[in-house]
Point group: D2
Chain length 292, copies 4
């Protein structure tokens, strides 16, 4: 029996049974593995970490994309940093108001592997005329582009794993450069690692960086079954991100149905509101940030 | 290295490192194991399944107890079925309005082991004068008692594991008997297994049973880090259990602060509301019940 | 981290770290997996069981081939049943006296995968003019051939795993048919599963079958590091197979150097003798056979 | 399910199912764990490493004790360094010629735990009048004793695990001191770690130390099922330790029956000879010693 064993924190691990190896490869940037698992369908792992699994990748990607886009009154231009599988683009493009979505991923080989072996992730997004896919260093793109974006989505591998190149993408220098290509009222969203009492250092790290660069930040979390954890995300903006649960339930969540047919398909309006219903124990973890 | 490996579903498992065995024993009803784990503190397992862990048992128990008690306008008498660790009683007794709490657990030896090795679970509850602890078969108790309860909490081991005795506690016969000792407007809450795409049979089983016996049921779920899953619960009552998220956030959750100082200590008011923010994918699982 | 977990017996397992997936496939007969492992090099697994690993496959194959060939005074014609990797053929062909070696393996696709991904196993054997490789059912071959063999080597997957086709290869009917293509004094050798107190049923099964068909049988065993066990083999013949350790050390083992340059390269003469030095605890397992 | 996972080498691990925890404790010197396992019976682990298991501990201990005692023409005084479980003493005392056996183990608490929870290991040895059990530092004993020993058996935890105290027991200084309490022709035997291509550093380390101190050394190995490996031992003496397999089979092994009734009960005479039948691949590992 082949098993994929992923450490959850210093003490525990999750073991996924590997029912079939679908593809494995090594690009100049990372090692990837696609395998079938009875519980989660096709699973994609990079450098030993599960990235997303077929049966619930929509949950992870809806939670990554829709809060930023729904919070914004009318996002037209969206930038995706990373997002190789194409599912982030798919979710962005479900908003009818989006006119242009630029996806910048440095690893063209991995993007190609996803298009070939995991086509349900992108589900046609790569063929959408509104998508511009660039295979290049996001730092260079930001330096050179003249675009101004309403929403930026960070879908990079977990900050805890970075070395060299990736480390630069969570740095103050990077955020400062990023701000120069934002339209007024723009919102940035990024995946930000696990929210667990025993493993939330990545999340605090991301919060601290965004907090230094932007006037407002807000953490939220989604339980993703195939991650066996509550996954954390951070919104950042110079515009306010306030709103209690009742306000979100009554104002933000209902926007989804006006944006497009399949927005929040897997989360639903209540599940969307639930992303922001952070329990006191999570709030308490977030307050640790000063000590990081 | 000693590891505690628990199957999550047919394909996957969670592996907890066992840093120290604290106690192990076999009672006439079950095998128990108490062990230390770096991520979760002291962990209690029965018959190979984690029951709760020190660092987040309050989450599991707050989610089990407070929805039923807060939904009820003024619960005075509460019955706990099972609940050996004493943490369910602890949470019930945090409601100042509760005048009497009867806890009926058949396994006195396990209750004693918890009092000795895991005293933070009960945290003084066993010494509270409002608690009546009975070591007996809950069936016999229900047959014989003259009490009428406002709230009943089911804190039994997972229905998926039952054989013989435990099976009777999730049967239609049992629920019918239970209804005879309920006060008007009474609410029943029970833990109801994992809510995962690959493992939710127990939950559907519990829903079906309660649904046949009571006029209203409502599922909710709490992410418990040490369970590595979204844990499901079911409320049941002959009184309505309706209320959208905004209503819960504005009406039910705020009751906590009037009930007692430490009610919802770990969940908080937003976390409490979040218990009911079921994503569309969970709602979809619940609709499978007709086919079970 | 990807791991290959193989059950050793009802209670224990060996976990091999999978450093790289080299190839995976499904033939009409079996699933195969080739992976790299730091401790053992390239590993070949069929249907979830390790078959052999690069760094010590020679041990397994020398122990399989040389006892039968060295016991025989001058083997000229050898039949290999199975042996897909080509290493059994390689060892047979190291005996200069062998004039013809017929290898019959039903799974041509697997043989091809081995030639491509694991060429050090066959190490040129497939190009040796003395080798005749046939892709067909061994039952049909035995029925149809006019050859008479001095030695027959059974290198089939473990009897414990058989179903349908493979089961026939360890049956009394099969052995009876096999005897018809043996030259006088012929010796049969077959791999025969693990020799462990908790897992030796396969071995006893093979012994029983050979014992019913042949006048003499003799078990022996080799410790193969990558198998994490003592691997069992059985010799069978109508000619005597006697000889104590001193006799083997003084008579049989020294034949190796006269047979060819690289015969017993990894075992050596002492290691060869050691194959027959069965401890009393193994002898005691073998005596269980009557009860199987 | 509780599992005991032991790393075999840098890449692989063996997983033992823990069916029941029998005892666990922490002495001033080590942590111990006694657990039941279906395949091996009661298992004893120290600091995360299996020491021996009920069903085959006799194999490990026979291989440790009898080569040194049988090589010696008539051992009367034997020193055991370590040997807490009492099984080494049991095997020594099976030689009728032994008049005195001194066992020096620093960890009296562990010895007591073994007497209580694993009595079949010592099997009465602690009550034998010829045994003197001392709870003290072996360094101090060697410095102070006036005894002169015919055989010394080292049954200490694996050298790979040592720190501080244990490191001293494999040092040149220690061996020099040890030589002063040896009778002429004395033989030293010690367990010396795993003999595996991927894990034999401990063995080479022990060989190098003994080789510097004694005129003759000889490695041998026993396959111990519950260790899932070939276990290595080293004999050392200023007297010659030569003898090929035939000589051992004809001269040394037969001594067992004259020494006592149950000497070599599990190994048998052939299994004893087999300890010295090192395959060429092991000989090749041993030649690496110069490079350590």
């Amino acid at each position: 029996m082949v098993e994929f064993r992923q450490q959850s924190d210093a003490a525990d691990a999750v073991v996924y049974r590997v029912d079939r190896i679908v593809a494995e490869g090594k690009t100049p940037y990372q090692n990837y593995l696609f395998f079938e698992n009875e519980a989660h369908g096709l699973c994609i792992a990079i450098d030993g970490d599960i990235q997303s699994c077929q049966k619930d990748e929509a949950l992870y990607h809806e939670a990554l994309v829709h809060p930023a886009l729904l919070w914004h009154p009318e996002p037209e231009k969206v930038l995706i940093m990373g997002g190789g599988e194409g599912a982030t683009a798919r979710e962005v493009l479900r908003h009818d108001c989006v006119k242009k979505c630029v996806m910048v991923d440095i690893d063209g080989e991995f993007v190609e592997a996803c298009r070939r072996h995991a086509p349900t992730w992108s589900d046609g997004a790569f063929e959408d005329e509104r998508l511009e896919l660039l295979t290049m260093d996001i730092n260079a793109y930001i330096r050179e582009t003249d675009e101004r974006f309403d929403v930026v989505i960070g879908d990079l591998v977990d900050v805890a794993d970075w070395e060299g190149f990736l480390a630069t993408l969570y740095s103050d220098t990077f955020y400062d450069a990023l701000k120069k290509i934002l339209a007024p009222g723009a919102i940035v969203a990024t995946q930000a690692g696990m929210l667990s009492p025993a493993n939330h250092t990545s999340h605090l790290h991301v919060r601290r960086g965004l907090s230094a660069a932007f006037g407002h930040i807000r953490s939220y979390g989604a339980y993703v079954p195939s991650f066996y954890s509550l996954w954390g995300y951070v919104l950042a903006s110079d515009a306010p991100l306030e709103g209690d649960l009742a306000a979100i339930a009554q104002t933000v969540a209902p926007r989804a149905s006006r944006r497009g047919e399949r927005v929040l398909e897997k989360l639903g309006a209540e599940g969307f509101t639930g992303l922001f219903a952070l329990p006191a124990w999570v709030e308490s973890l977030l307050r640790e940030e000063r000590d990081v």
